[in-house]
């Protein structure tokens, strides 16, 4: 080893140590945020905040299944009590009237600041007469009759008005006192964690606690009768993280093992196999370290992607070992390889890097990380192969001569009749299939990127439907510098929404001001209450025609007097009531920015019809709240994904263009460039056509997979495009071996339970195989010609 070689090895070892240190300290995340924009618009920011930290992200939905309704309700009660005791949850609700008594008491004792109907007019003699008359009429209905005992203290029916406001949104069905699914087979519970939804570690702890708590309340001997199923964003994040970690570890291990076995079979040399894995190891470490340094957080999906790099980076060492056969001694053979083959490998590496570099420009961290990971990983693997491997290869190490295998493969390829016609036919068929399916080719929903399996998503949707939280698709968002300002704005927006509800355009809406009116509104309501003497006089007048004995309304007079002197309500007063949960879910606070959310509900029976958002926007404009925006969450997230998909396509096209430019620059012949690229493009077309035929919609991960096919395949095509210098059988053997390694790596990925990894594997494994076959067929044509 000369001085330069020693330096290369020393630098390599230092790099390995440093990269390992970075990788061990890196922070790993596994939520959907990898696919959320790094520089969002205000509306997207709202969406991102909601998904990451918002109250919705903290919900864990639970379903207890099995057993009969009564036993299940008993288990659910004990389970919920256990969860409440743990203190890890802001709220645990299962439909039990745990806080109902407290809620009623709170609403009743503060009815004169909470009721919408309170204004000065309501306490004039005429206003009182009208309100009391309406209450009496209400008492004649089955539901109203429940309020008869309150008549002497609440003759104007404020409690009724408050409850009507809060109950306009239907809740879940009940059975045996517990929330139940519509089919009656599941008991439901909703727990709101203290920890934010993106704090995956805390979510995992809370989920484990829930499972332990459930196990502990199961009646003895009925262990298998009932089961708990959990769902929600935190559950998904935890599950996805563990799936991805498992997949990354297990698939890496499996593909490494398979590749080792393959190489052992071919090389018949343990040291060669061991050394051959060095570029792979270096590449994987370099990739994760680069992402950790460049982005701060490594997304789980990037880690999963790491597996795929094994398949590609092992290629470099395969070329090195298989092709370096000429010359005496390791040093000479290495030198010969460098001269004869390295330029082609280098061009292949550069081509791959060009393909991935465009991803770095992506506005989505997930894509940018994939780009950074691939570039640094491939670069490291190639550099180690070029500068370190030749230095550490034992002088007498020679792997088995695989030229005969290559020669045989070459004959097989050569025996294919009319290869060019075959390729042309395949292109025509693929293009025709793609053209026929062009409408349904791409999946256009953000959820397509979700690391959550479809079955889990369906279960979640079913639970949300049962809980009555499924149909919130549209929101009005109002912003402001403090809580009071957003509550006031929410009240003004609410006034214009009331008109929409009145006219039947809107079913109902929820507002934080329903739970806690702004201080200004509370003050105004309080100021409209008359003093006791005035009230008594007016009552006497008001009750004359109603048959009400005004002397018996003393509790009412006392309550109004108390409310006049009472304190205004603040957030703290809501504590301990279920109103706190409702309120917290509708108020977002980050830094100096406050936002109030007003979820909109469609008119019953018309849930599937989209709301007329244009009309709502006009109504909001008339409310004079300039910070109010109508947000269609589904539309917003689909727009986000559409933008994402468009960007990925643009970047992929950019990557392809960069590859073309690079090849033109190096090969300096349009014919040569075409010869290199055509097999790759055809491989991609065939894979896409196969997906279309199988009815599978393509996602961004499929697109990335196609980019990978081009990146990996370019090596094959470049080697085949080289003039035949007598080493062709050796080259074919090296390429075949490299290809099998790649197909193993990606093929395993295709069996992953993580949808995005599966998509990647399903695309690249067949794509890489086809790229090799097509490249061989295209070159075979040339030999014949």
């Amino acid at each position: 080893m000369n001085r330069r070689g020693a330096l290369a090895v020393a630098l390599w070892l230092m790099f390995l140590g440093a990269a390992a240190a970075v990788v061990l300290r890196a922070h790993y995340a596994a939520d959907l945020s990898a696919f959320l924009p790094a520089h969002p618009t205000a509306a997207q920011q709202m969406l991102v905040d909601q998904l990451r930290e918002g109250p919705a992200s903290r919900l864990i939905l639970g379903a207890v299944e099995g057993g009969d309704a009564t036993t299940r309700a008993g288990v659910m009660r004990a389970f919920a009590a256990e969860l409440r005791r743990s203190g890890l949850f802001l709220a645990v609700e299962d439909g039990e009237p745990v806080t109902a008594e407290r809620d009623r008491e709170f609403l009743f004792s503060h009815r004169y600041v909470l009721s919408h109907d309170i204004d000065a007019g309501r306490f004039s003699a005429a206003g009182l007469a009208k309100a009391i008359g309406a209450t009496l009429e209400e008492l004649t209905t089955p539901a109203g009759a429940l309020f008869a005992p309150l008549l002497s203290s609440d003759p104007t029916g404020e409690m009724l008005a408050i409850l009507a406001g809060l109950q306009s949104i239907p809740g879940p069905a009940h059975s045996a006192g517990i929330w139940t699914s519509a089919d009656g087979r599941r008991s439901l519970v909703v727990a709101q964690t203290r920890a934010g939804g993106s704090d995956t570690d805390a979510q995992q702890r809370d989920i484990e606690l829930m499972q332990q708590a459930f196990a502990s309340v199961q009646p003895a001997g009925a262990v298998s009768a009932m089961s708990l199923r959990l769902s929600g964003p935190g559950v998904f994040a935890v599950r996805a993280r563990s799936h991805i970690q498992q997949a990354a570890v297990r698939l890496s291990a499996a593909s490494t093992m398979l590749i080792v076995v393959l190489l052992l079979l071919v090389y018949r040399s343990v040291p060669a196999v061991f050394l051959g894995l060095m570029p792979v190891l270096t590449g994987a470490l370099a990739g994760v370290a680069a992402v950790a340094l460049g982005f701060g957080t490594v997304h789980g999906i990037t880690l999963g992607f790491g597996v795929t790099l094994i398949g590609e980076s092992v290629d470099y060492s395969i070329y090195f070992f298989v092709q370096s056969r000429t010359g005496d001694g390791a040093a000479q053979r290495a030198q010969q390889w460098r001269r004869q083959f390295w330029p082609t490998v280098r061009l292949g590496v550069l081509t791959s890097i060009c393909g991935f570099a465009s991803l770095l420009a992506s506005g989505f961290p997930g894509l940018a990380q994939l780009g950074a990971y691939s570039i640094s990983g491939l670069l490291a693997a190639a550099l180690v192969t070029r500068f370190v491997l030749p230095e550490i290869v034992p002088a007498r190490l020679v792997v088995r001569d695989v030229a005969p295998i290559g020669a045989r493969l070459g004959r097989v390829v050569g025996s294919v009749p009319h290869p060019r016609a075959l390729l042309l036919g395949l292109s025509v068929v693929s293009v025709a299939v793609l053209a026929m399916h062009r409408e349904a080719l791409w999946n256009r929903e953000l959820s397509a990127l979700s690391p959550v399996p479809a079955a889990d998503q369906e279960f979640d949707a079913a639970l949300r439907k049962d809980l009555g939280t499924a149909d919130v698709r549209d929101l009005v968002v109002v912003g402001g510098p403090n809580l009071e300002s957003v509550l006031q704005a929410a009240e003004r927006v609410g006034a214009s929404l009331d008109a929409e509800v009145e006219s039947g355009q809107l079913g109902a809406y929820d507002s934080p001001a329903n739970y806690l009116p702004s201080q200004a509104t509370q003050q105004r309501r309080r100021a409209s209450l008359p003093d006791a003497a005035t009230l008594r006089t007016r009552l006497r007048e008001a009750t004359q025609g109603l048959g009400v004995d005004d002397q018996r309304l003393a509790p009412f007079v006392a309550a109004v007097a108390a409310a006049r002197d009472g304190a205004l309500l603040g957030v703290a007063d809501l504590q301990g009531t279920s109103l706190a949960t409702g309120f917290d879910a509708l108020i977002l606070h980050s830094g100096a920015a406050w936002n109030a959310l007003l979820p909109l509900h469609a008119v019953p029976g018309a849930e599937n019809r989209a709301l007329d958002t244009a009309r709502l926007r006009a109504a909001l404009a008339s409310s004079g709240v300039t910070t109010a925006t109508v947000l269609d969450l589904k539309q917003e997230s689909d727009d986000l994904y559409a933008g994402y998909l468009a960007e990925a396509m643009r970047l992929s096209a950019g990557g392809l263009a960069a590859i073309v430019v690079l090849l033109c620059f190096v090969l300096r012949s349009a014919r040569e460039v075409t010869r290199v690229l055509l097999p790759l493009v055809l491989a991609v077309l065939c894979v896409a056509a196969a997906f279309a035929l199988a009815g599978r919609e393509l996602t961004i991960l499929h697109l990335i997979g196609m980019l990978l096919v081009v990146a990996v395949g370019s090596n094959y095509a470049l080697f085949f495009a080289r003039p035949d210098d007598g080493a062709r059988p050796l080259t074919i053997a090296a390429l075949a071996l490299a290809n099998v390694a790649t197909v193993i790596g990606f093929g395993l990925l295709a069996f992953s339970r993580v949808p995005v990894l599966e998509a990647l594997g399903m695309t690249v494994a067949p794509g890489a195989l086809l790229a090799l076959v097509f490249a061989a067929l295209a070159s075979g044509q040339r030999t014949h010609a």
């Binding site: 089955p142 008549l151 002497s152 239907p170 019953p604």
Partner: protein, 192 residues
């Protein structure tokens, strides 16, 4: 003095025993009649006598029963609202608004619904489980007095008094613990 009091007590005992006798056969007869009937439909007028009011509140509507456990009270005037109790599920429907509630969450109305429903179903076991049952009269004109056994219920509903002849209800009176009461007068709805 002492002797006369003792006589009075004895007399009262005798009376009770006699009533208990009549109770069993009469009540059983009435309930059997109801048990045979799977459908009932009446028009009602309801008067609510509230402490705060100088005159009763009046409303009218229809009461329907379908065996085994569906009871519907449809108020028509002055304000339309329908209350349906099927099993333990209460449904309130007013216009397009619908609320589904659990009967168990409403102890103020649960005994009323359960009592009337068990009577219409001829379900003696449920009546005995929930109420202290007192029967008087004959099949032609009987009175059933139900006093809730559950002390929590007694906070709101003191007693339910059902009158009828044969397998028709004619009056349902509910006495609230606070002194309010309501009286429902029923007439079989004309069969269409």
């Amino acid at each position: 003095m002492r002797a006369s009091r003792r006589r009075l007590v004895l007399f009262a005992f005798a009376l009770c025993a006699a009533r208990a006798q009549a109770d069993d056969s009469g009540l059983a007869q009435v309930l059997q009649g109801f048990a045979r009937r799977t459908h009932a439909h009446s028009n009602y007028v309801e008067q609510q006598f509230l402490q705060v009011l100088r005159r009763p509140l009046e409303s009218r509507g229809e009461l329907r029963y379908d065996a085994p456990d569906r009871l519907e009270k449809q108020t028509l005037e002055p304000r339309a609202e329908t209350l349906t109790a099927a099993g333990n599920v209460l449904t309130l429907q007013r216009g397009s608004h619908r609320h589904v509630l659990d009967l168990a969450d409403y102890p103020q109305i649960a005994p009323l619904i359960l009592g009337i429903r068990a009577t219409l179903a001829g379900d003696r076991a449920t009546l005995d489980r929930l109420f202290q049952v007192d029967f008087a009269g004959s099949l032609a004109h009987w009175t059933l007095e139900l006093v809730p056994r559950d002390p929590a219920t007694l906070h709101s509903v003191a007693r339910i008094r059902i009158e009828g002849s044969g397998d028709d209800l004619s009056r349902v009176e509910i006495g609230q613990t606070n002194g309010d009461r309501s009286l429902m007068t029923l007439r079989p709805a004309p069969t269409p």
